[in-house]
Symmetry: C2
Subunit: 458 residues, 2 copies
């Protein structure tokens, strides 16, 4: 892959488990076309590419006037699907009356991904309200051989949520009803189009939290979170969606409704088919409803921010932290010195500790504020005393906590102000994680303005 | 199902999420035949039955002289598989030299389940050491149309690990090697035949624990745990195997080795095929290796034992407990008064609190002994003060902890001394859980000596 890089990229970025990147020009980004092919084996006849390439993405600056059509930019070919006719529109109107969008202006946004790297030319968007309507739509499209592109909040970083050609967009925007919430078990059942932040608010008012949290929470839909098996900031504490998603309702391509919407914490009846849909990015069916287990809301949250002399010390700090903080550890994020420099330069955020080669943000969430603060203090004494960290600060109030989190959460923003960014979401064995950054830094030399690394350890 | 009960069962038992039951006579237990059919749609031509029935099991007292052959006891018919010939034995001997068992005495134990309810008549048991050998065996059997029954520790409660007719038993006993363990991440990779207790010891010496624990840990194989999606005593704290199993190696029926043995905590590359094998009970392939995430070992463990005036209070205690103990709560078990009576009568175990309609055992596991004890005391004050519990006791030393756990763990033993037991492993919504016991108690009246309920809330 490296051999295809042109020698002009100003910024490179590796993000351990969440990523985005900006490229130089359309011509130089032809390989990125493969990255937007939805999930494992989408319906489009694109040429194969390595998993690394497929997981990356690129973006032009947000001021770009017009996004080039995907079909013109990349070597993808339209498969022989039918073209939407007037009769089709009339039939679809009967299925979702008043919710068939054909206005070109209204269709502009859903045809483009939010990183503005790809653009489809869909001429129809449908807004079903129920699973039955989704089923009718898919059955009709299946019979008529019409291509469909399901869309949630359209917040994905790899262009998987926008059409490539003239697919019919099936939007989950109006499927935003909470079906039930159980105050004892914390089991939430809702439609796929519920916005993550709205769900968070809803369950937090009832003493629970959503088991996942993302930067895009204000727009992303829970159905899309599940379809992409989103990890996010609470992965360390609450684990994968594979454990917290209890059930799914999915409509298959032919319109069959698959009801795996159990609310039991464990259900060993038959094969666990729902697992196939988690992370399958809409290639196997459209997720229409989700049953998810919400953990109780922690009553105390603390954040520590440390400077570490090397990546080996970051890893050792992680081990020490897991041992001493154990059950209250809810986030462990690292960033390198270059991230911090850029955050300082472009966002005027001050580094709260002495300048160091690496920085670590540790969050605890527990049920006893005093206990948690004591544990954190003990841990800080240990890592500062042993030289694993050279400096550290502790935040227990909401304002300071937000300030420390901003250093980590706003890295992407700082980088985007620095120039074009290529961003990769990679999962690597812990002890080899940072090698990627060092090796690439050595390899690119002056060709890249920055090669930086940050992300979560889990 | 109820209409088929004969009016002579001395004891009935409902176990929330782990079960066993003893019946009166062979004739009366014909329906139980269906329960031993392996997993969802086994190869045997048994008649269909309800999920409830399929999850139950029955057992004769262990002093029973001989277990009747499954094929004679139940209406199952052998499908047209080939019969093992001398040529087959020679071929198998070439695949696993010196590890083809045909001695009838040696075959007795693996032909019978440990509850002694079902018996197969297999004449060959193979002991492969590697996945390649398993692949060769399955490829050969597939080509020769020979039926195969994979077997781990043979500790299952529903007879799914023993042959029904003359299937070749493929035992994982010799596949007991630990492949790797990562001291930072806690990721263990091992062969499927590793005994759970041996793995526990291994990782505990390194500061970690296995994410599951079962009564059968001294014999059960990790491959069988995964194949049956075993829950067990640590489910509340560490969640489902669907989250903690990171990867699997599986040999399909035709001998294809499917390598999904990733060790990454999150891997979104392609479909997560390994999920299909978790809980599929060997019907889709033989699990040969497992990659599993071990959590750090907690440094402090405490147990509280409470008496509650009703099941509604048990549920409210659970809610309070989740709120106040949060991240350190590692087990919440309940048992009714009849369980306690039988435990006292047959095992001479004294009830440590005042007599109550219900009892609750709460375990905490944390990283700070002092903090945990303080949290537990606060919780006890709350539930005793509000009347949710009428009496309670707290154990912080190992001896007392074991004593309290024995009250819950030895219920099965106490019941088996009381008479024949029918035992069901059921998952039900929390607030309707105990209705099953009350309703059945009312329905059976004097026909049952005891109808009792116990198990975990999650």
């Amino acid at each position: 892959m490296m051999s295809r890089l042109a020698p002009r990229w100003p910024a490179w970025l590796f993000w351990w488990r969440a990523a985005c990147a900006q490229g130089v020009s359309a011509q130089q980004r032809t390989w990125a076309g493969a990255s937007r092919i939805p999930g494992p084996g989408g319906p489009w006849g694109a040429t194969g590419t390595s998993p690394l390439v497929r997981r990356g993405s690129s973006s032009a600056p947000s001021c770009a006037p017009e996004v080039m059509l995907t079909r013109e930019r990349y070597s993808v070919r339209r498969l022989p699907f039918s073209v939407v006719s007037e009769d089709d529109l009339a039939a679809l109107e009967r299925i979702v009356p008043g919710r068939v969008v054909t206005d070109p202006e209204e269709l502009e946004a859903p045809n483009v991904d939010w990183l503005r790297t790809v653009r489809g030319s869909s001429k129809v968007l449908l807004r079903p309200r129920t699973s039955q309507e989704v089923a009718h739509i898919l059955r009709y499209c299946h019979e008529r051989n019409l291509a469909v592109s399901p869309q949630g909040g359209n917040t994905g970083m790899v262009g998987g949520s926008t059409p490539v050609f003239d697919e019919i967009i099936v939007s989950t925007t109006l499927m935003n009803q909470i079906v039930s919430f159980h105050n004892v078990s914390g089991v939430l059942v809702c439609q796929a189009g519920c916005v993550l932040e709205a769900l968070s608010r809803y369950v937090e008012e009832r003493g629970f939290v959503m088991p996942l949290d993302l930067g895009a929470k204000g727009s992303c839909h829970i159905g899309g979170n599940v379809a992409t098996n989103a990890g996010g900031l609470r992965f360390l504490r609450y684990g994968s969606l594979r454990g917290t998603v209890l059930g799914l309702e999915v409509v298959l391509a032919d319109g069959t409704i698959l009801n795996c919407l159990t609310s039991l914490r464990k259900d060993n009846t038959g094969y666990d088919l729902k697992q196939l849909f988690i992370g399958s990015e809409g290639t196997l069916g459209v997720i229409t409803a989700v049953s998810i287990l919400c953990p109780p809301k922690p009553s105390a949250v603390n954040v520590a921010f440390l400077g570490c002399p090397g990546f080996a010390e970051v890893l050792q700090t992680f081990c020490t932290c897991r041992g001493m903080l154990g059950e209250i550890l809810s986030a462990f994020e690292f960033m390198d010195a270059e991230c911090m420099k850029l955050v300082g330069l472009h966002l005027r955020l001050a580094c709260p500790v002495q300048e160091s080669p690496f920085y670590v943000l540790i969050e605890t969430s527990g049920s006893g504020a005093g206990h948690d603060a004591e544990k954190l203090s003990g841990f800080l004494e240990q890592v500062l005393g042993s030289g694993l960290a050279t400096d550290g600060t502790l935040a227990t109030d909401q304002r300071r906590i937000k300030m420390l989190w901003a250093l980590r959460e706003r890295i992407t923003e700082a980088l985007s102000r620095d120039g074009y960014v290529y961003k990769y979401d990679l999962s690597l064995p812990l002890d080899r994680l940072y090698d990627l950054v060092s090796d690439l830094r050595a390899r690119l030399g002056l060709h890249a303005k920055h090669v930086v690394g940050y992300g979560h350890l889990e």
